[in-house]
Symmetry: C2
Subunit: 343 residues, 2 copies
DNA sequence: TTGTAGGCGTTATCAC
DNA sequence: GTGATAACGCCTACAA
């Protein structure tokens, strides 16, 4: 039960391999007579023949494959991007080769090397922190030299030139700050749950500046740096909320952490938003169903994913394009987790 | 800046292509002198040469690629499986080719065809409902005839022979039922949010049987069939909870739907668990952080994913193995969303 | 110890 | 209109 090849089809239909190829590639109309054509098609159907993509690819050069590297499969935020990526890639006839770095930069090098060997047509990188280790960076640099089209999603705080699609949270965070300040919050904390310090700088900086602009000193004690899991967000929140002078508002740099914060507040007997206001980021699917519904900064993740693929395809088609930066402005969605500061 | 080939390496190091290949494949130890070997390695490093996986694959037959088909990227449940799949596949040197059917069986045929052309080494199918349409089934059948190793995850309610790893929810659901009944619940409803009717039969049947065994008639009105999104779960719950004789307990066939139920209860001013007990399935990551913490049936999704890959690799290595069925028993985790029936 | 040659399955270029 | 033939990059049996 070996897989049939073009040769088998040719034999069965009594023509040469070339003819089969012509029929397959649509050039048959003017060259191959209808009858022959039909015989070939019948043979294909009978054998269940399907051309070997590896051979096609070897010959043509393209693999119609896009590498997708995700830092952490378990964070819903990434899947929402992934969905957009998948939709757009599929529509263009591309498939996704998925890798998870598991936030572990040691894996990254392996992944890059492997993708390189597979001769993928392009690469989508979610989160620049993937290329942390020396070796990973070197491998990535090599891919860039080879002019592998690469698009970065989410962050772009690296020194190499690639296309990227980001949602710059700066403006939105300024909005968050003036919103919270207008509600009379003065002790505003931040759950800075990042895999890499530089990661959410677009949230940290405007946060600090917003405070300063309002004449509120930045209190380092109110900035809890922790890892990116819910549990870590939960623990960080417990700590912040147990402070003698407890914050009246908290900004979590993503919604997953915010879920942990909600839980921590409840465990301490604090009501959100009466005792504590909470703002998240990303607007993951469940955000609007949480109790209370989460006020968050929404970024239309699916669209970001789609745009990334569009950029990638554009560069695949035209490698010499100038590098593109697309910034999709997120917006603050006020729901129920924020309210006036307690008196 | 074309990619270097083995030939380029050979030229640069002044040896033949074969020698390069020997060095690469480790057969160099006894054949190629150390010095020549080093020259080749240097050339490889200098050129940044990496073998072309397509060519290797064309020659060797295997692609070291596993297809992963997910019914709905946005459901966290699938991603937790995916994480296990990814871990185990990576460890064995395989990559994942990801496709999302978007719960749309029309896509399925395309995907199967494409994967077939790509000559993947194996396929992991999450949820049997993927093969709904006639064409999709035919294509799948063809793959099976070709003896493509396939492992099914989550469900196995189809008529073809494949390996599968399932979590049979039957026993756990019986446990759920006796637990709820012991709490004096009699009006127990079900949020049956499925893409395909047969999908969660392992939850529906024991639910009905459990009721009957306790002498409680099955009330069709309490079984809300809806789609698999949170919003649909939310709407279904609103409806069920607005019934004149409202259920005192609800079983949602997955945790995502349960999030919608929680929200619906709150919107109707119902307290969980005082007024309503709620049980979900899957134990997704956030389940234990929800308010209230969700009582759910946990299935160790990561492990299920890993086992699936193990089975797949076993079959790839030994195609004539008898078909395997692995059932990983889920267990009921009682948290805070369930309590005694209101009097 | 190293080099040569054939073949994996395609497609495209030529002759016929 | 159709049929050989070369080439994509690699691996390996075999020859030198």
């Amino acid at each position: 039960m070996k897989r049939p090849t073009q040769m088998d089809v040719a034999r069965l239909s009594g023509v040469s391999r070339a003819t089969v190829s012509y029929v397959l590639n649509g050039q048959a109309n003017d060259r191959v007579p209808k009858e022959t054509r039909q015989r070939v098609l019948d043979a294909i159907a009978e054998l269940g023949y399907a051309p070997d993509a590896r051979a096609q690819s070897l010959r043509s050069g393209d693999t119609h494959t896009i590498g997708l590297i995700v830092p952490d499969i378990r964070n819903p935020h990434f899947w929402e991007h992934a969905e957009g990526v998948e939709q757009e890639a599929r529509a263009a006839g591309y498939r996704l080769l998925l890798s998870d770095t598991a936030l572990n930069s040691e894996y990254a090098e392996d992944i890059f090397k492997d993708l390189s060997r597979r001769r993928i047509d392009g690469l989508i990188l979610m989160g620049a922190f993937i290329a942390q280790s020396e070796e990973a960076r070197n491998t990535l640099t090599m891919l860039l030299k080879r002019r592998l089209p690469i698009v970065e999603l989410i962050d772009h705080n690296v020194d190499y030139e690639v296309d990227f699609v980001v949602s710059d949270y700066r403006a939105a965070t300024e909005e968050v700050m003036s919103y919270l300040l207008s509600l009379q919050h003065r002790r505003i904390g931040m759950i800075y749950g990042v895999a890499t310090p530089a990661l959410a700088i677009d949230r940290l900086q405007p946060y600090q500046e917003g405070l300063r602009a309002a004449g509120v000193p930045v209190d380092q004690e109110l900035i809890a740096t922790c890892g990116p899991t819910i549990e870590e967000g939960y623990q960080a929140a417990l700590q912040l909320l147990s402070l003698p002078a407890r914050p009246t508002a908290l900004i979590a740099i993503n919604d997953l952490l915010a879920v942990g914060v909600l839980r921590a507040a409840r465990d301490l007997g604090l009501d959100v938003p009466t005792d504590l206001s909470l703002v998240g980021y990303d607007d993951i699917q469940i955000a609007q169903y949480l109790i209370p519904r989460l006020t968050t900064v929404s970024k239309d993740s699916i669209r970001v994913g789609r745009e990334a693929v569009k950029q990638l395809l554009a560069r695949i088609a035209e490698p010499d394009l100038p590098y593109q930066k697309l910034s999709i402005p997120p917006r603050l969605i006020i729901r129920e987790s924020t309210g006036p500061a307690p008196v």
